[in-house]
Amino acid sequence: MLLGDWDLVVIGGGPAGVAGALTAALHGLRVAVVDAGARLGGQYFRHRAAPPHSSTPGFGRFLGQVRALRERAEVLTEHQVWSVTRQVDGRLTVHCAARDGGRERPVALGCRRLLIATGAHDRVLPFPGWDLPGVLTAGGAQALLKGHGVVAGSRVVVAGTGPFLLPVAVGLAEAGARVAGVYEAGGGLGLARHPLRALGKAGEAAGYGVALARHGVPYRTRRAVIAAHGEHELEAVTVARLDRDWRVLGTRRVTCDTLATGYGFIPQIELGVQLGCDTRHDADGSPILAVDHGQRTSVPGVWAAGEPTGVGGWRLAELEGRLAGLSIAAAAAAVAATAPAVAAAAAVPTAANAPVPVPVPVPSVLLRRRRSARAFAAALLEAYPVRSGWQGWLRDDTLVCRCEEVPLARVREAQELGATDARSIKLLARAGMGWCQGRICGYPVACLAGEPPAPPRRPVAQPISLAALAAFDEDGTRTEPHTTEDPA
């Protein structure tokens, strides 16, 4: 069914989406928020159904925002957005697959403006055995703990690069897991000289350091897990000592039943790419949505905030959400003021009928805070680069693409056949053609091709049933399924 004609639909109920939605709603806009999860929070504020006292910084504040939002806006959880289309009159339609009991139900939301706040997911690197059960992403281990109260394993290794490894390891140790070690591929300076300190977060770094020490967890830099071992499940990992380019200097075996690994984050921008939003590369090479000072993308009526505009953590995400909300409210007010008689038509921003950009009345203190938070985020990205030596950890039979089970040898074969870029490798070797649509292997394949990762083109952003697709037509207005039978 087509639900309403919203002033604003926000995709993603993490810190950016909630702040943006609440800000716009407080300015009188009719707002709907859609989120794939069962509860708002996104990844950082992921929480259990009945949250116990949470030590997550900012969590109480976030819950307060959610309460205020629920009084003023429509909140739709368990709604997966698979496409956003532009109608002939310029309005946008947000196509979702909603979970309804055990069934999937197509839902479409009509709106005049869109805020993309879809967050990010872990960036992982392949290595021999990385598809063994027991190998999890760092974010996956964190999601189990925060969202479900499940400790990922009893003897856990945490490995990868970036400051996120620290809270993951501390969380696991405090929940009772034996953390055999935290292996940071970058750095070389140890926890005492952790970049968090240099960047003015000494307290945060010290807090993690104290917690790791209390649980007897060793923190080692220039170390990485370069292989996972086990018959049907993870039983041990090979930890390597690395040089500054991440080439292996020496190895040892560490027994564990679980590995939590992550090498930074990949912003989820495919909905913006679908709509034609301009992209650019972040400090770490990740494609992100380009936005102006008011978080506006290059496409009229479409804003973005949080990780899709550059990975920077929850504080920056919330700030960008607020700025987007103010900017959206200002745009709506400008339209209403300039054309009250034809508001219905003029309220719809189209390429041909784009409203003249109005100055966004954004408090300069917020802009200053965003500037400094972005500088901090960029410095962190630069402090934790992924070095090319990881490619030497792979063997010919190491899977690069988990979905289509494409080993390195097939990627190399494709390259020998003349595939010089990631797209040609995909077409020849099928890496990235499976269920995840290259979300996991896209980054490593781009690295193997020697190019920065390209903006993701996924016309259907989530797998959907044929019934949902059948209910979709060109102007996006008719969305009732033709049949109520089970999806084909």
Partner: protein, 81 residues
Amino acid sequence: MTEPFQITIDGHPVPVTPGQTIGAALHAAGRRSWRTTRFGGRPRGLFCGIGVCFDCLITVNGRPPERACLLPARPGDEVTT
């Protein structure tokens, strides 16, 4: 719904804390894989844990495969492998 309940995997009971997904409940019960890959027959369970990687696809109550990490467990759900 605040009382713990059960689901089954191939007929074996698995305890669930309300609010958990099928994937979280299985992982917590020590069940780390529930499907094998098409070509290599390799075991797969949770990997990304947030609905991105599709490794954890699972058959519940005979429905087409869904992501175990996103699928809330409901009393009496029957998982088949």
